[in-house]
């Protein structure tokens, strides 16, 4: 119910047209969906998918060793690390993003610190760039990668690694031929959990990107609130949903096939 009713309303609105003063007029039309194909918006889709993809990749590369260390630590350390991974969630995401703005500013904590240490003599201009958005997204969604990975790796018996080593497998071979295949469910779950919110992210690109470019999330917000074009905003949201849904389904389908073989 909670999922489908708003969805149906959204579908209905996406087929209507915008009134002059921003209301919804119930004349049925497909123009909103035709507008989605406008090359103007391709750039936005492409950038959003790319940025979400890179975020997912970076999270995976950073998250895997982290999850591995967590999974192989002693139970006490394990609890402590899990606890540490949870702490950021105690503070509102918006507040944490604001904190990043203070850190990354031209005259912020990072630059004054590095300059007083003499490591740099020119401030690093990172706030309000794509790099800042990437940093913010990785920061925000890394726990969503680490936790499923941790669960998956913890399930792999350490004896399997020992067995591989006994069979003269080097460190890389142990990882690539034993741990990686066995942690695949965690990898897939982590990637899906990171990719989906990154693609529709609004706060991070808005605050750290400095409004210099648009992402899917900011475009949808813009259409709904500023332009008051609810029909087109709904069509965009619908596109995003369909994209994510098909992606998730295909992920899990492949996962299911892989499990059976």
């Amino acid at each position: 119910m909670f999922f489908f009713v708003p969805l149906l309303v959204m579908l209905g609105v996406s087929l209507a047209s915008r009134g002059t003063y921003g209301g919804v007029e119930w004349t049925w039309t497909l123009t909103n969906y035709l507008r989605l194909a406008d090359p103007l918006y391709w750039n936005i889709y492409l950038r959003s998918v790319l940025l979400a993809g890179v975020t997912t990749g970076v999270c995976l590369v950073l998250g895997f060793p982290l999850a591995y260390v967590m999974a192989r630590a002693s139970p006490r350390i394990q609890n402590l690390l899990l606890f540490l991974a949870m702490i950021p969630f105690w503070t509102n995401f918006l507040v944490r993003t604001y904190a990043w703005m203070f850190i990354l500013r031209t005259k912020g904590v990072m630059n004054t610190g590095l300059m007083s240490l003499g490591l740099i003599d020119q401030p690093i201009e990172i706030l309000y760039t794509d790099s800042a958005v990437l940093l913010g997204l990785v920061y925000g969604y890394l726990p969503f990668m680490v936790l499923p990975l941790y669960v998956a790796i913890e399930r792999i018996a350490p004896s399997l690694e020992e067995a591989a080593q006994d069979l003269y497998a080097g460190g890389w071979a142990v990882f690539w031929r034993v741990i990686f295949p066995l942690s695949k469910p965690g990898i897939v779950a982590g990637c899906v959990l990171v990719f989906i919110p990154s693609l529709g992210a609004f706060i991070t690109p808005h605050l750290l990107g400095g409004g210099r470019s648009m992402m899917l999330g900011t475009l949808i917000q813009h259409e709904f609130l500023v332009i008051r074009d609810w029909p087109f905003g709904s069509a965009l949201s619908f596109l995003l949903m369909v994209l994510l849904l098909s992606l998730t389904v295909s992920f899990f389908k492949r996962q299911g096939l892989a499990d059976r073989t």
């Binding site: 002059t20 003063y21 921003g22 209301g23 103007l40 918006y41 750039n43 936005i44 509102n92 918006l94 507040v95 703005m101 500013r105 031209t106 005259k107 912020g108 201009e125 706030l127 309000y128 706060i203 808005h206 605050l207 400095g210 409004g211 210099r212 470019s213 648009m214 475009l219 813009h222 609130l225 500023v226 332009i227 008051r228 074009d229």
Partner: protein, 356 residues
Amino acid sequence: MRKLLKKLVGVAGVIALLGCSPSSSDGDPKGSDTGTSQVLYYFTWSDYVDRDLVQGFERRTGARVVVDTFSSNEELLAKVQSGVSGYDVVVPSDFMVSIMAMQGLLAELELSGIPNAELIDPFLQQLPFDPHHKFSLPYFWGTVGIGYDSSVILTPPTSWEILWDPRYKGRISMLDDQREVIGLALRAMGYSLNSRDPALIERAKQKLIQQKPLVKVYTSESFDQLLVSGDVVLAHAWGGPIARAMRERPSIRYVVPREGGTIWTDCLAVLNTSRHKALAFRFINYLLETDVAVATSNRLLFASSNRFVKDRVDPGVRNNPAVYPPDAVIERMEWMVDAGEAIRFYDRAWTELKVH
């Protein structure tokens, strides 16, 4: 989009504020009346919250006032459009008055119940969005100009063109507002900021694309903080936040370039759904009272619509061009009116600028 994200800060402030006042409430405007005293729900900008102001009205009438805040016109409209917001008095900006009136959201004012409407400055009367004050009365007003750091920019800017000066590359902020930014480019080229001509809007867009490499950030929320911290030295800005930024960094100045720009006013209006219209009119009348308006203008650093206020505020406030611009400046300003169907051209130009 104005200050959408300051909301959090604003809401926290209001909670803190209501928490220590006798009118303590959970801020839920749908809460029921106690019956013994009337409750008025006032929905205003987060920077217009003034505890003393509300308490004064409560003392005088015995009614309770519950304050809730928004940080953009869009947010206000979205809440009110639901039809069950429960608010009585709201403060939409000029162009939003016409949108809300067209949608039938505003109640007609009974001016006989608001004698202080007479005190409103003549230049704020007969404005295009509501010429006969049928739905709204101007409350605070101000301008859009350039906030700059006079320790870096030694000669005061006279033209918008300084925002295209490559010497300040990476140290310029622009409002994140399509009408304001495209309107600025139109004014800089000598046209009306309300132009509906797609060819002109296209030219404005080209001009802004040229400027984009120089712009550090498009923001309507933090340009004042960025000026204070020195991250930017030139900011396309609303006057009010710049006036407050001056208190933190005295080298900050405010100027409206010779080409002129937007003048705006936030207006008091009553919602059609209000159940206490008489009390709402009384509240509006109270807010426009000279003594009350002088105190608020001093505290909040906004220009009051009451024509007797300017001469009575502190000299520091009166002579601050970010609060009360000189008369010569007012003459070259232009009211922003709803673009109607032409909003599509603005929308497209803006998106093209952003993806460029």
